[in-house]
């Protein structure tokens, strides 16, 4: 479970995140939805402890992530915005590297790696170096290494961005599976369909603020728009009249 309270972060004069508050529950998929530059990535970066908030509190399974980033990281599995891979290592070696950093070794590491490779349909490419991988294969590798330690909380920054249909389906499958196993899944996206297909709770963010939160039905009710996309546009203030 993740709880964020009144999070602030500024870069110079820009208030990138300006008082964000929300919670993501166990066994639920929470979507952080917003247009480009709304503050999604910055919020997630503070959440996974690589960026220090100017103000606010973050609790990961009750651990204060600002005071004890190290402790919080044990409970997190993260697919960051930049999920760079090492071109000369194989898919399996990527997963094992991160597993070993988490303290997993030997037969346990091997069975977890095999399980992930099978689940993500990567067995055929497991021993290939990632240098020649497609975008989808790279994302799957990054995802597998992020969850090798079976973390309670999984954060995914735009996981399906730029993926083809098959890869997108594989990622969605993983998200549903993690939810079924009782994990907290929080992912960001700027794609309405993505969020509405998967999420129990949608948190809409625009210009660093939360402009709406709740189930898809809640959001329709809040905005009075039957179409979820219209609701999103209304909430994020992207309509021409409100832009001026």
């Amino acid at each position: 479970m993740i709880a964020i309270d009144n999070l602030h972060k500024r870069f110079g004069d820009v208030r990138a995140v300006d008082g964000v508050t929300f919670t993501a529950d166990d066994g639920k998929v929470t979507g952080l939805l917003g247009p480009n530059g709304a503050g999604k990535t910055t919020t997630l970066r503070m959440l996974y402890t690589l960026m220090r908030p100017d103000e606010g509190r973050i609790l990961v399974d009750g651990i204060d992530a600002v005071a004890d980033p190290q402790g919080a990281r044990f409970a997190l599995g993260v697919l960051p915005d930049q999920s760079g891979l090492y071109p000369r290592l194989t898919a399996r070696e990527h997963i094992e590297y991160f597993g070993e950093l988490q303290g997993i070794t030997g037969a346990d590491l091997r069975s977890r790696t095999d399980h992930l490779l099978k689940m993500l349909d990567m067995t055929a490419i497991a021993e290939r170096r990632v240098a020649g991988f497609s975008h989808g294969e790279r994302t799957k590798t990054a995802l597998a290494r992020a969850i090798v330690h079976n973390p309670k909380n999984v954060l995914l920054d735009e996981p399906t961005n730029g993926l083809d249909v098959m890869s997108t389906r594989a990622v969605r499958e993983i998200i549903r599976r993690l939810k079924g196993e009782g994990h907290t899944v929080l992912f960001s996206s700027h794609v309405m369909q993505e969020v509405s297909a998967l999420c129990d709770t949608i948190v809409v963010i625009a210009r660093g603020r939360i402009v709406g939160a709740g189930s898809p039905d809640d959001l329709r009710r809040q905005t009075g728009h039957e179409n979820l996309e219209d609701a999103f546009v209304a909430l994020s203030g992207l309509e021409p009249e409100s832009v001026s």
Binding site: R52, P80, Q82, Y97, A146
Partner: protein, 396 residues
Amino acid sequence: MSAKSTPVTQALVVIKKELKDWSRDRRSIITVLVSSLLAPGIIFFMFNSMASRQRSVEDITVPVVGAANAPAFVDWLKQQAGVTIVEGPENPEEAVRSRREDVVVVIPENFAKNFKASRPAQVRLISDGSSQNARPKIQRVRQMLNRYSGEIGSLRLIARGVSPVVASPVQVEDVEVSSAQQRAAMILGFIPLFVMLSAFTGAMGITTDSTAGERERGSFEALLVNPAPRIAIAAGKWLAGTLTAIATVMITAGLLFAMFRYLPLQDLGIRFRLGTPEMLGTMAVVLPLCPLIVAIQMYVATFAKSFKEAQSYLSFLMMAQMIPGMMATMNPTGTKAWMYYIPWIGQQTLLTDVLGNKPIGVMVFAVVGVVNVVLAVVAIRATAGLLHREKIIFGR
């Protein structure tokens, strides 16, 4: 969530990964091979060309014009060690001027007549004084001619009942400090520089790849989300780099000293002893510098956003580290006690002592090693500090 993951095991995991990753990087491996072959190669080439120049004085071919005018003299020349007499060219002046010949001896027709009459018989030595390469050969030929003249002179005095000693009121003893020896000594002075350079270039590939390379690929973010303290990650990368630096130094020093067994040092009149003790001494001096070199490389390369940027920063650093060695070689001032304890200057000073067979206290070795490792730890902590900076983690 395992209790097994401590910073030490995490650092070991990082070392293993970095070495595996590096061993598959053909470019880095080639850099290591080239940089460890470079020093022995250059020194071998320099020594060999000097030795062959020396040999060119030992085995000489002297063209003689008019050999028929003085058969006894020519026979005497032929008997000299390493001398071959050939028929001289038609136009000796022209041949020397156009550098076809270094030197030509011309025996005029009236040689025999003057010789028999005990008058000075002329022999013409045609040479070009502006030709640097020909000078040792010309000198050798002139010496031979003078010696023949001296021998004949002595015989004539004996025939007249006079001791030849009377005719040499002054005896000249040659004490040669030849330029070849000086140059050889200077090349040996470059050994410390080359060995330290190989430590630097050997580690460069892995340090840039594991710092600036992570930034360029955008892989730092995912790596640092792992519950490993920054110091464990930095230390792992540092130790992996240090291992490659050490390996390069050992290969370079090994090749260098193996090569000295085959170099014709005696031909150059060099009495340096370069054997196993000197090799071990060289390694004992340079190896403690490796952790420091790698730590500084890592600190600098972490500021770079890309592999290329890091390489240009590091090439400046490489030139900077050569300055103390250069200054010591070009302008040797006396050794002062403080010099031992400054990295690079200390290595240079110690290596000069090692190669010069000067006894060195174990304490000096120990203190130099400790100073280097302590400074390396300071640099690595600073690098770990950089890994907390948002601009470094996210900035590409």
